[in-house]
């Protein structure tokens, strides 16, 4: 499917036709908000987005999965706690841990679901300032070797939207030290820590690098006219988040850098 830009004459990205064969599943739970944006980001990057429903008992033939943001089950109990036990999550957990190492990206509530699933260590608690916060956030890509960051350079700074209330990443010191030592801190907040996260951590990966979770929203920075640049010009690009999706698509079709 070709995505037409909603405004302006600029095409967001010249997607490579060879990527279209790669299928990225996008999971919808009751209360998910950003599934359509995530699917659109997959298409803008050149891939094929496949809608997945939380109650599905099979993953089908998807090559990777995005667990988007929102408020699954109204954030009742704890953010992500109930979604973690959805039938489809069992399949995703198995596939992520299998030899095939299914690439999985959890964004915001998706990140919370991945920690509740124990695919990623640590947890998120309420922002230290107790408020919901929405802003354009500068991140540093600390690890460009995960399935979702191959198209970035290590140390590269990107700007993507951030919007959450339970975004304070915490883990015990031992876990944090291990994450740092193993290069599993994938993204760090730059200039401003928006939620009190330990060691400015915005996102992490599992040991194999196929599972990545982060609080900010790369899927909201994939289209010219709708990214951070158009809001306040703080130096980012409207499409800084697109690399997440091109990274995994290139990896799937075998053309990674």
């Amino acid at each position: 499917m070709t995505e037409l830009p909603l405004i302006g004459e600029a095409i967001a990205v010249a997607a490579e036709p060879r990527l279209a064969g790669a299928k990225i599943g996008v999971v919808t739970f009751p209360g998910t908000l950003d599934d359509r944006d995530a699917a659109r980001a997959v298409r803008l990057a050149g891939g094929t987005a496949v809608p997945l429903w939380h109650a599905d008992t099979a993953l089908g033939d998807v090559d990777a999965v995005v667990i988007p943001g929102g408020f699954s089950y109204g954030d009742y109990l704890r953010a992500g706690a109930i979604a973690r036990f959805a039938p489809l999550m069992a399949k995703i957990i198995d596939a992520a841990n299998s030899d095939a190492k299914l690439p999985v990206l959890g964004i915001c509530n998706g990140f919370q679901i991945l920690t509740e699933s124990h695919l990623l260590p640590g947890s998120m608690i309420k922002n230290d300032h107790l408020k919901f916060l929405c802003r354009d956030q500068v991140l540093r890509v600390e690890n460009s070797n995960t399935a979702w960051t191959l198209d970035y350079e290590a140390g590269q700074e990107i700007t993507v939207p951030l919007k959450n209330q339970d975004g304070q990443y915490i883990a015990d010191e031992k876990t944090l030290d291990a994450l740092e030592a193993e290069g599993r801190v994938a993204f760090r907040y730059v200039g401003f820590n928006p939620n009190g996260s330990r060691r400015d951590i915005a996102g992490i990966s599992n040991a194999a690098g196929n599972v990545v979770g982060l609080m900010p929203h790369p899927e909201h920075a994939t289209e010219v006219g709708f990214g951070p640049q158009s809001l306040d010009g703080i130096g980012g690009s409207d499409t800084d988040g697109l690399g997440f999706f091109t990274s995994v698509l290139n990896k799937i079709v075998g053309g990674a850098k």
Binding site: A81, E116, G122, K126, D128, I170, D172
Partner: protein, 83 residues
């Protein structure tokens, strides 16, 4: 009908932002005797019939797997309350 009460608290080493906000609000209302507040959760599981050891074991397992997240919370109490 009997109920099983499960109490969950944030781990002591975890900063409890909600408790911190509450302790800030207390003196504004004249409640000046409290130096700290921690906010937890209480679950009431209603049992149809008798609370057997097996049911109680289920409640303990549910408390550890679903009702709490061991990374950030402790199950501090599981007890049977007769209606």
């Amino acid at each position: 009908m009997p109920r099983i009460v499960v109490d969950v608290m944030p781990k002591p080493e975890i900063l409890d932002p909600q408790g911190k906000a509450i302790v800030g609000a207390l003196p504004r209302l004249g409640f000046t005797g409290f130096s700290s507040v921690r906010q937890g959760k209480r679950f009431e599981l209603t049992v149809d019939g008798e609370v057997t050891d097996a049911i109680l074991a289920q409640a303990r397992e549910a408390a550890e797997t679903l009702l709490s997240n061991p990374v950030i919370e402790d199950v501090v109490n599981v007890e049977v309350v007769e209606a």
